[in-house]
């Protein structure tokens, strides 16, 4: 069986990915760990490695095409398999982003390894799995396909318990997919995970313990987009990372914060603590929860360093190898919902910080410019701020600076 190469899901929010570059041609030998292709989401650029020593047998999705998470983008042939003879029943998926992530993504856990061996190797049709008489009868009754089961009995024999397990799993999926209106499907109680309890506590405290207030600006994102396009090839060549719009926005926001120190503060019992350095938190979905990895002292870092930090933090998140320092000590947080097409939203302040910035999608809009209606890529940013510390006028001044930096990124170096 050839190995499928699938579009990985790098976070809860990811539904599709763009294949930026294949690093190998069809027929090339690859080693385990070699970078197979680069993918890009609205937030990140990511390198996908080969899962095994093999031959890149087939590229299904060409460069510059976007596909849904979980879609097969290519196949690897293992040792002893002739890539030319592989019977790969490839149906190239439509690369329209609008249908992205509709069905397949359910079965792909977040941050899952990008290249995975199919869970059960499909058996030959004439090689039926051995199963016990009881298991056979139960499979018939419960409509469970024995071909899909891996037996746990002697020498892999399928036993009744395997069928029961598959049947229960099937029912569970059903009850998740069908709306609760269905009479046969009972409501389901999912016990709290530790992460869920921690999130609940923190989010509620943020609402209850702060005087949260909101303010939104609309900015023209044309220059910032161009700015990124200028930087991208240079940084890619220099550091082999692809800079994202979020990287640039984080740095710009931090530069604005430097001019308005009240944004970078913390409420304490003794008074308001002004923090010298800006440690930028980036809100990120992880598994079933959310986490805020931190880029430390972001003002002292170049764009390429920020991009590299971000990629490293994503890697750690994927490998579940965060160190405490990676996910604590942020002084301000930026949250982006652009990949969902959300134009405008508010974020909950990430305590003990005093403010958080919610960045919406860049959307082409008709705007009035010099007496004419023109189409420009527009972006809305909403600041949630703790009015105990930050007065409306202070927040307004900060937002004005931010607006000017987003529309003229060159100014951050002024």
């Amino acid at each position: 069986m050839p190995l499928e190469i699938v579009m990985p899901k790098l976070g809860l929010t990811m539904t599709e990915g763009l294949i930026v570059e294949w690093k190998f041609k069809e027929g090339d030998k690859v080693k385990k760990g070699d970078i197979l292709f680069l993918l890009e989401t609205e937030k990140v650029t990511y390198e996908v490695e080969a899962a095994a020593d093999s031959v890149l047998a087939k590229i299904v999705i060409p460069e510059n095409d976007t596909v849904a998470v979980g879609a097969v983008v290519g196949y690897l042939a293992l040792a002893g398999e002739d890539p030319a003879l592989l019977d790969i029943g490839v149906v190239a998926p439509e690369s329209t982003p609008s249908t992205a992530g509709s069905t397949v993504s359910e079965s792909i856990p977040d941050l899952e390894l990008s290249v995975s061996r199919p869970e059960t190797e499909a058996p030959q049709t004439n090689d039926r799995p051995s199963s016990t008489p009881l298991a056979k009868k139960m499979a018939r009754e419960y409509d469970v396909d024995l071909q899909t089961l891996a037996g746990t009995g002697m020498r892999g024999r399928i036993i009744a318990a395997d069928v029961t397990k598959a049947y229960e799993a099937k029912n569970q999926i059903k009850s998740q997919v069908t709306p609760p209106a269905g009479e046969a499907d009972a409501d389901k109680l999912v016990p709290f995970t530790g992460m869920r309890r921690a999130i609940a506590k923190k989010m509620l405290a943020s609402k209850v313990d702060t005087a949260q207030t909101y303010m939104t600006l609309t900015a023209d994102a044309m220059k910032i987009k161009a700015y990124r396009e200028d930087l991208l090839p240079y940084i890619q060549e220099k550091c082999n990372v692809r800079i994202s719009l979020t990287d640039i926005l984080m740095k710009i926001t931090a530069a604005a914060i430097l001019e308005h120190p009240v944004i970078n503060t913390r409420w304490t019992d003794e008074g308001i603590l002004y923090l010298k350095k800006v440690h930028m938190g980036m809100a990120m979905a992880l598994g079933e929860g959310l986490i805020v990895p931190v880029i430390r002292n972001i003002n002292a870092k170049t764009f390429s360093q920020i991009a590299m930090d971000r990629i490293e933090l994503i890697r750690k998140g994927r490998e579940n190898s965060f160190l405490p320092d990676d996910i604590s000590g942020s002084t301000f947080t930026l949250s982006s919902m652009g990949m969902f097409g959300i134009e405008e939203f508010t974020s909950n302040i990430n305590l003990p910080e005093s403010a958080i910035l919610a960045v919406g999608a860049i959307i082409d809009k008709p705007v009035a410019l010099a007496g004419k209606v023109v189409i420009r890529p527009m972006m809305k940013m909403t600041l949630s701020y703790d009015h105990r510390i930050i007065d409306g006028a202070e927040a307004g001044k900060f937002m004005r600076t931010l607006h000017s930096f987003v529309e003229n990124p060159i100014r951050i170096d002024a």
């Binding site: 016990t132 008489p133 009881l134 009868k137 139960m138 009754e141 002697m154 009744a160």
Partner: protein
Amino acid sequence: MADKRKVTVIGGGVGGYPAAIKAARMGAAVTLIERDLLGGTCLNRGCIPTKALLQAAEVVQTIGEAPLFGIRCDNYSIDFKAVANRKDAVVQQLREGVGTLLKRRRIKVVCGTAFFKDSATVEIKETGEKIQSDNIIITSGSKPGRISFEGSDGPDVLNSDQVLALTKLPQSLVIIGGGVVGVEFAQIFSRLGADVTLLEIMETLIPGADREIALALEKSISEAGVKVITRASIKKISRQKGQNTVTFEHANDFKSVSAEKVVLAVGRKPDIAALELDRIGLGHKNGALTVNEQMQTNIPHIYAAGDVVGGLMLAHKAMAEGEFAAAGVMGGKTDLKPKQIPNCIYTSPEVASVGMTEAQAAQYQDVEAVRFPFSACAKALLMNRTFGMVKIVAEKKFGHVLGVHIIGPHATDMIAEAVLGMLLEMTVDELAHAVHPHPTLSEAVMEAGQMFCGGATHLP
């Protein structure tokens, strides 16, 4: 050779010697410690000697039936000394066989009483020899249980070990305890000519067995001449002029029965006294070692198997557990944990069962039970052994066989088919449609299966 894993097995009974052989076969350097005789309780004081006596009893039964077959066998007599000698000869032959098997596997056998010096070192009490090992498997077995009441320590009150050492047949016996050991002794001594009374405190003999089967056994053993009294609560034993009078409460009345000897057949207890377990903190509960699913004690490199872990005390269970523990020690993953353990009683008729009783199964599932009588089996008629039945308990929806209970000729041999079938998750259909040879007793199992599938051929 120096790299071999060192495994020490404490106890050379049917739990220990198979464990030693298995470990040796899987590449271990094995030492087996036995303080008495290889083969343990089963071979020396349990299964084998009792079955040797039961075989003699069976011969008596056959002679009794001989005229029916047209054979005259008048004027026979029973030489109990010779019966006991044959028993001992069989035991000795088997014991030597075990010794040979161990030698072939280069297993070092040490005679003496083992106790723990530390968790990796076992010391022999008699010689002071210290044996260090990577793993230890405790298969120290069990000893006859005791209950204390007035007169229970009298000179004519025997436990099962002492009964088997008898060289003279007692004229009369009272057996206290109607479990497996009690009913087998009752059968032996009754057939050999003694006057036997069997007292059981519970409602039926062989408590825990399927009720229907237990009642059938009571009927058959009573008809064979044993006086059976259930719900008898023992009060005391008094001794006068070579006669022992056992007083018991029955149906709100005090009754008594007298006999030359009294047998206490009140179960067995794990034997852990000599091991000095508390020095190494090895876990035990109610006198039995505690083990997990892998037969591993709370000290990970020490395993235990057989009677010493409590539960059902059966030789075949000890053997299977011992081998399973040895495989675990040696890192074997394919060995199946013994699951379907048959229960066997070697009376005539025999009793054998595996799985759940009808009452147990009915608690969990919608079940159906069928019975096929041996009176409808040609081979049983040929043998003049038509008493008994095959009873199958199956769940209704799929016909999954949950329990098989047989009382009848060769029940203990026939139960093996059910054990294998249940291990393979058979349903009544396989049992009903597997072709069984004719004429054999095994047809009764098939026909019982057919009763779930429209009816048995040989029943109206």
